[in-house]
Symmetry: C2
Subunit: 361 residues, 2 copies
């Protein structure tokens, strides 16, 4: 016999990208920042004392909340620190969607959303992106028709990298009857000239919950630190009711605070990633692997039909180069490739060049 | 309008013990180990490199699982590492109890259980302890009559510190139709001569889930690291379905592994805590504050009616000594006092002696 709930018993879990134990891999499969975190983070890490670990941490990571509030020009009460961005996604469901309620996502999208919906026993409404990989024109109408309690939108979109403008998101939030979670995991890599900033919207949209993470932009995927931004009416029930009482640890609180404080260092890495993104887009295109215009730190590259994305994925893997392949509608002919360092990208292009050359013969 | 689920909107959150920002407090309110973690933990902490934080951590904390499996003489597959013990409690509910199902606890008990049950929308069956603070003789019958899907039992019990024997727990597990979670947060402080070890029971009881934490015994409350022990049929759905995909971070994985590896250091602290527990029990008794026989790192002391536990709590607080007072049935005339260092305990006894002396005049 099993003790699992029926929905848990029937479901499949989330499959994260491979995290190989051995070194020497060119790892372009899980969208980590290729450059290390700031020297200030290293400094704070080196100063952590054993005695600080002995006691419970500040339950709400108050120092981080203040630092992040200053960074965004909002109040600490509008911020909820979480154990990675994934925890915020789960907490949004725990707080705002009953078992049986409907959760809506665009399709394709981050493959964790359906898993989290299933754990809560929610219905999932998948709304296909249009031909240009944008949200359907009647997206909000579809949300409200489905009586969705939460909609998850990732912006810049994963796995395409396409950025949706602030106006479009504002229009969705204003007309949607449920909570709109905008997953901005990759927002740090957006061109600064686009002046994309969703945060001021929380003043007028009390159903808008913005997800940020230090995993990508701040090179701290190993630390598990993210946060939510929203109206206090959304933040407070998470902060005081549904969150595990000590959800972030004292070391990650201190390091995350240092990372935000030294954002200028991270900014330099974002600029380098953007440069390499442009170069990689061009060079992949020249090899016949056309990419969608990405505002993120990854590219979605289309693999010619006669080669096959799955095949190319495995060929690269044999050469110790990891990229991501999704066995999913509209993605089976594509590879998602994280923008690496200049050297890593050169290695990738060179390996692809040789592979494609051999295959053409 | 609120977007919260109805049950979330109506509930109150968990209130953790105070975590004062300023130093100089004698902090005997949240059951931390008064002695620091092992030098090996400090060594591993000092060796953490920024580059390790850049990448996602091993999703299932494989090194820790192996280390903990060796420590307990079981297989890694029987262990699920979690972000503090609290995460395991939540995950047990997420995995094994539907909204509307019944969760049973002894009353009084850890005040987080009812909060977690409410978040999931579960019914709560509270089964009062008997006059001697032991589980009711018909505890299992009451569990099964209530059709409980999960029962939470904390052993040694909190807030009394009383230990229940292995045979009694085995009998409960064998006759209970649901999942029995035994919260062993304080087990490290049990007298070794009692030979209390529940772990071998997981071989025969596939409904037994044991909670361990590094917060108390291993002096790492600030790190947020715990783990569950159980049959693979209980562990696997948590490991592969309901857990957040990267629920523990790379630093805590490494430090927790080092803590278990250097358990001999922790063992010395347990021995010192037991010595001080005996002394404190005696000296509190001499002051008229009788304590239940505790196998934990705290004492539940009864305050004479003419003084009042709440009053004494506030008087101690004014002298920078923090203990825990629960506004709850059967606890309103008691204080829960963490066993501190010898110096801290002396300070407490001295302050109490003076206070009681003044009050008697």
């Amino acid at each position: 016999m099993t003790y699992e709930r029926l929905n848990i018993s029937k479901m499949h879990g989330y499959t994260p990208g491979e995290q190989p134990d051995q070194g020497g891999m060119v790892k372009l499969n899980t969208n980590e920042n290729p450059y290390p975190a700031s020297p200030l983070v290293a400094e704070v890490l080196a100063a952590v004392q054993l005695e600080e670990l002995r006691r419970y941490p500040p339950p709400l990571a108050s120092s981080f909340r203040t630092e992040a509030a200053n960074y965004h020009g909002i109040r600490a009460e509008n911020i909820i620190p979480t154990n990675g961005g994934d925890e915020l996604l789960r907490l949004a469901i725990t707080t705002f969607a009953n078992s049986g309620d409907t959760i809506a996502i665009a399709q394709p999208s981050y493959s964790l959303y359906p898993v989290l919906a299933e754990v809560q026993g929610c219905q999932l409404q998948q709304i296909p992106l249009d031909e240009d990989w944008l949200l359907a024109g009647d997206f909000v109408a579809q949300l409200n028709d489905a009586d969705a309690r939460i909609a998850f939108v990732v912006n810049p979109h994963a796995p395409t990298g396409i950025l949706m403008g602030v106006e479009r998101i504002a229009a969705i939030a204003e007309n949607f009857n449920g909570v709109l979670v905008v997953d901005e995991a990759y927002v740090d890599f957006v061109d600064p000239e686009l002046n994309y900033d969703l945060v001021p919207l929380i003043e007028s949209c009390n159903n808008l919950l913005i997800l940020r993470t230090l995993s990508k932009g701040f090179s701290l995927a190993g630390l598990r630190f993210g946060y939510g931004i929203g109206a206090t009416s959304l933040i407070e029930p998470i902060a005081h009711k549904t969150r595990d009482s000590y959800n972030t640890d004292i070391i990650s609180q201190q390091l995350a605070t240092a990372a935000i404080r030294s954002v200028e260092h991270a900014r330099q890495s974002w600029s380098k990633v953007r440069q390499e993104r442009d170069r990689l887009t061009q060079e992949l295109g020249e090899l016949g692997l056309a990419c969608l215009p990405s505002q993120s730190n990854f590219l979605l590259a289309k693999v010619p039909h006669n080669i096959g994305a799955d095949f190319l994925y495995r060929q690269l893997q044999q050469q110790q180069i990891l990229v991501r392949y999704f066995e999913e509608n509209r993605l089976r002919d594509k590879l998602r490739i994280t923008v690496g360092t200049a050297d890593e990208n050169t290695l990738l292009i060179s390996a692809l060049g040789k592979l494609l050359n051999t295959l053409e013969k």
